[in-house]
Symmetry: C2
Subunit: 199 residues, 2 copies
């Protein structure tokens, strides 16, 4: 746009590349930041720079952190013997918010995808196999998305882990808490019916 | 949340304070940034720091820029004699995107508001009155929002500018381009009818 200082225009363009923000909300966000220069804009710049400098992937599980081991791998409060396999860090955080899993994770870094030419060697699958023996793992819980690629990856992993003699489980599929049958897709209802439990 | 490094948690909290982003989209945005550390996160941190350091309000009109005068006030391609009064910089940018106004602006920095205790002395109204004589202004165009506070401010300004003997106009009200009558509020239809023009 004419007559916007180029530095501000460049900032808006970068903000517009964030997921969830378009050109319009990026403009609003930048004006909001300029209005709160001292209390928000300068600290945000510093926090971004600090994280960009310090963040790294955990050498063991692939989660993000600031040390060689992520806080979860480094914690001695986590149960050993179980690994929960997730696609990415967002899914790991979702599992953590659930608060039910007390073991450690393994972040694949994606799913197998013929379309995007992502094969097993592009994911952290060899590292997962290595961890089974090294950490004395007895159960691998597959917490992959219920998408085609997620389920393809789950089947591949189940086969790849078979020689290790480890128990492989996956999250249950069924009606979400608070879910209304009328709004559920047919596949979910079918899966919930097949997995029905005695009341 | 447990087991997220505190620097990353602090960054998410700051991002969540931007308009248009909540906790969930702030998490997504931060993970996206971490995944694009070199090409987006570090440049964004630098751009934020640069704008936070360099941005200032135009000494004349209140628009934002990096010099004493904003690009619009500094431009010699802008028509003199007309000032368009807007509430804030977002509205100035909206007028510029419209591309129809070739003069200069005056940014009030808000509207009069009894509720928020914002009086004339809290806005850049004295500076506007001073500009009328100093710049030989013949017309002041009020481009204020069609809200109660915006229209209160417009009426106040029309009275305050009367002694200066300047022509005061305001944006037309009517049916927006592409607007469908069935979806318009009654007030807009009434205003458009009263301001009807020979076809």
């Amino acid at each position: 746009m004419a007559d916007i200082p180029p530095q501000i225009e460049a900032l808006i363009d970068m903000m517009a590349r964030l997921p969830g923000l378009g050109p319009r909300s990026a403009r609003r966000a930048v004006l909001h930041l300029i209005g709160k220069r001292e209390v928000l804009m300068t600290p945000l710049a510093a926090a971004l720079a600090e994280v960009a400098r310090g963040v790294r992937n955990c050498a063991r599980c692939g989660n993000i952190g600031t040390d060689e081991l992520c806080p979860i791998c480094a914690s001695d409060k986590r149960a050993t013997g179980e690994i929960c396999v997730v696609e990415d860090v967002a899914d790991l955080w979702a599992m953590e918010r659930g608060g039910a899993f007390k073991g450690r994770y393994h972040v694949l870094g994606g799913t197998l995808s013929a379309l995007d030419a992502i094969g097993p060697e592009d994911l952290r699958i060899p590292q997962l196999v290595d961890r089974i023996g090294a950490e004395g793992i007895s159960e691998v819980i597959l917490a992959l998305n219920a998408t085609v690629d997620g389920q393809t990856t789950a089947h591949y992993l189940a086969e790849a882990l078979e020689p290790a003699g480890v128990q492989v489980t996956s999250l249950a599929q069924g009606v979400p808490i608070g879910g209304e049958l009328d709004y559920l897709d047919d596949g979910t209802i079918g899966a919930a019916l097949r997995a029905r439990k005695r009341f």
